[in-house]
Amino acid sequence: MNPTLPTAPILSEAAFALCLALLLVAPLAIAGVALINTGLGRCRSAAQAMLGNLVLLAVAVISFALIGATWVGSTGAAGHSFQFAGRPWEWLGAGPLLLGSLGAAGPQSQLALLFEMLAVALAAFIPWGSGADRLRLSAGCAIAALLAATVFPLLAHWVWAGGWLSQLGVNFSLGAGFLDGGGAATVHILGGLSALAVVWITGPRKGKFPKEGLSTALPGHNAIYVLFGCLLALVGWLAWNLAGALLWLHAPLGSLPVTAVNTLLSAAGSVTATFAVTRFRFGKPDASLCANGWLAGLVSSSACAGLVTPGESLFVGCVAGILTPLLVELLELALSIDDPSGAITVHAVGGLWGLLAAGIFAPMTGQFVAQLIGIATLLGLILPLVYLLFWLLNRVVAFRVDSDGERIGMDLHELGGGAYPEFVIHRDESYR
């Protein structure tokens, strides 16, 4: 037990019951992201994408329960720390192995663990969407297991469980320390940066960037999945942000309606802005980019919904909605990054913008610098770490399917049957 660390305030019975109910609804966000990932991929990989979502969830949760949860620990509990410049730097939790004492743990610790389990599942989904149509199922599982066992616990401890980022306020008078109520850093930015690493390592889909001319458009196969996924995600996100506000920001029950309004306003502002930008740029609104804009607004709200006013939340959403289509275009056309689900823009950039906005608008003195330190940690430490781990993992479990598998589609190659067996799959015009 580290005596210098404060313990988290105890939840009231009403807050505990509400938080538990919210966490039971939160998986709808995961279902929404799964539908979006599948819809934005190609029809010949749809079954593999959806099965991957299920299996990745299972692998991530098991890996987290077996290994990761030990390293997350909880606020005020034992952890690994060192002294530097006269201050403690807690860098790793030291919980019981294999969830050994979960039954005897306090109710708040049990809720925190449930939140973290859902969070790790969502974080593992994000790179899966970016590797659509060429990332092997076994590689997706290995990525999920690695994230859940190593990087996610490290980050979750730093941000949520009394680690050094959360103690920036106590140790350096930086506001309330790094704040991330809805998992913008631990889930979305981690997932988005992992998606960038996956895309860098696997490379683009065959035919995406031909030797001559612009990149080939490979549109998602089902806009209805994508847009319905957005609506489903809203329900889950509302639950997620409210539960996070109770657990990690220690918000009073009376402030929760504002957090919910902020979440909704951020998503609404974002999709409206994306709708306007795509309408202006292309002459017609783009459904998949609008879906990305909606999600980017939700991701931004994860970082700041519990800390800002409704007007500020609308502004944050609008900026996220303007950035999203422009960055998706920039990544594809200028930077040769093939990201079918737009996860790098939506989750990484949307989350980073949300964290920055939380620092700008939060009323606490020094909060801006605390948020900047969090952003610096994610970009400067987590991205290289994730890339290194994935690069090594790729040597053991090859990420990319062979060219024959890519030609016939991931469904036939990996599962032996397609998602839509009664439909005629059109010849792929992108192969030249």
Binding site: F84, L335, L379
Partner: protein, 60 residues
Amino acid sequence: MKYAGLLVMPAGFFLSLYALVLFSAPAPRTAFVLCGLAVECLGLVVAVRGHMEARGENRI
């Protein structure tokens, strides 16, 4: 080039972190943290350019 960029990024992180220890006044601390972030962005740009060059050579 991609790896060089990825190596520069942790340098920016440690620069940002060191600002907390070096400075107690808010203004220089913020400026130093922003410098660290700028170094990270520089590393990211180099890594992305390295990726683009590699992609340009492997286009099919």
